[in-house]
């Protein structure tokens, strides 16, 4: 867990172990304050715990804003920002949300510099698209089954679901989502954040978050369908 060549100057090892559990959904403000105090006191073990908890998710989220190569740098910049701003953290939001807001700001700034199109608002870019293409359903004029399936979804094949190829396909489909949808699906479904945590970090409403999640999942399912269906390629 800890490399020999990088000896951490840490408080008692049990502090580190108990702090490993922090940052999980449901972390309390009290625990956040302990973490912050420990880091400000110079505890390396605690800092690395915090890093381990969030760094990969930060990189993944940064990729919504900048080219993949720049994501690591953005995440590192964010940690510098976190350390520099730690004395200002008041605990009004959770530590996790606060860290990710810093990350998003760094990513947005960097993204703007790299001239990647990054609309500032978190609002959705394609409000009208249905979860499933309209032509898959019987139209409203059908005498018995208006709006019922015309072309039903084919069952997915288990062996295709567990393949590495399918995994990369899902990753790619998420990368291609409009940014706001990508953010929400990454945090909810990949990282396992709660809805409240996502709303706090991205500063969006519950309803808005649900709509984004809905569109994201619908699109990713749609992208997967031809590859994992019994009838697919």
């Amino acid at each position: 867990m800890v490399r020999d060549s990088a000896r951490l100057q840490s408080a008692a090892s049990e502090d580190v172990a108990s702090l490993e559990a922090l940052g999980t959904p449901g972390s309390t403000r009290k625990e956040d304050r302990r973490l912050v105090a420990a880091i400000r006191a110079g505890d390396e073990g605690v800092f690395i715990c915090l890093v381990k908890r969030h760094h990969r998710a930060m990189i993944r989220l940064a990729r919504a804003y900048v080219p993949p190569g720049a994501a690591d740098e953005v995440a590192q910049e964010a940690w510098i920002g976190v350390l520099k701003g730690l004395h200002k953290f008041e605990g009004r939001s959770s530590l996790k949300a606060w860290i990710f807001r810093i990350l998003i700001n760094c990513a947005r700034l960097r993204g703007a510099r790299e001239a990647r199109t990054v609309p500032f608002s978190s609002l959705d870019e394609d409000p009208q698209e249905p979860a499933v293409a309209e032509e898959r359903f019987l139209d409203a004029g059908h005498p018995r089954w208006p709006g019922h399936w015309l072309k039903s979804p084919e069952p997915w094949m288990d062996e295709r679901l567990i393949s590495e190829e399918t995994l990369s396909m899902v990753a790619r489909a998420m990368d291609e989502l409009p940014r706001a949808q990508c953010e929400v699906m990454r945090l909810r479904d990949v990282e396992g954040w709660t809805s409240a945590e996502v709303c706090e970090a991205l500063e969006i409403s519950e309803a808005n978050q649900r709509v984004l999640l809905h569109r994201a999942r619908s699109k990713v399912r749609q992208a997967l369908e031809p590859y994992v269906s019994a009838g697919g390629s």
Partner: protein
């Protein structure tokens, strides 16, 4: 007087409610209608299964290991901040 059937969901509506269903934000009545529809519509049952599969696969994308070189870099960042 009520008719449990007069307000049945069409499949096209159900697929738009899937996220609300999974988030448990449907009203009791909507949830009942949603679940009843699944008992009489194999296609929608399959659709829900597919959304769940999509989520399950996404979960596998999470990686938690921190590469050692990244850990070293960030430790260096921390030490500079401490002394700075």
């Amino acid at each position: 007087m009520s008719s449990a059937l007069s307000t049945d969901l069409a499949c096209k509506e159900l697929v738009e409610l899937v996220t609300d269903y999974l988030e448990q934000t449907l009203s009791l009545e909507e949830q009942t209608r949603f679940e009843h529809h699944l008992t009489m519509c194999r296609a929608c049952k399959e659709y829900l299964r597919q959304i769940r599969s999509t989520i399950d696969i996404s979960r596998k994308l999470a990686e938690h290991a921190l590469p050692p070189e990244v850990q070293d870099e960030l430790l260096a960042v921390f030490r500079r901040w401490k002394t700075g």
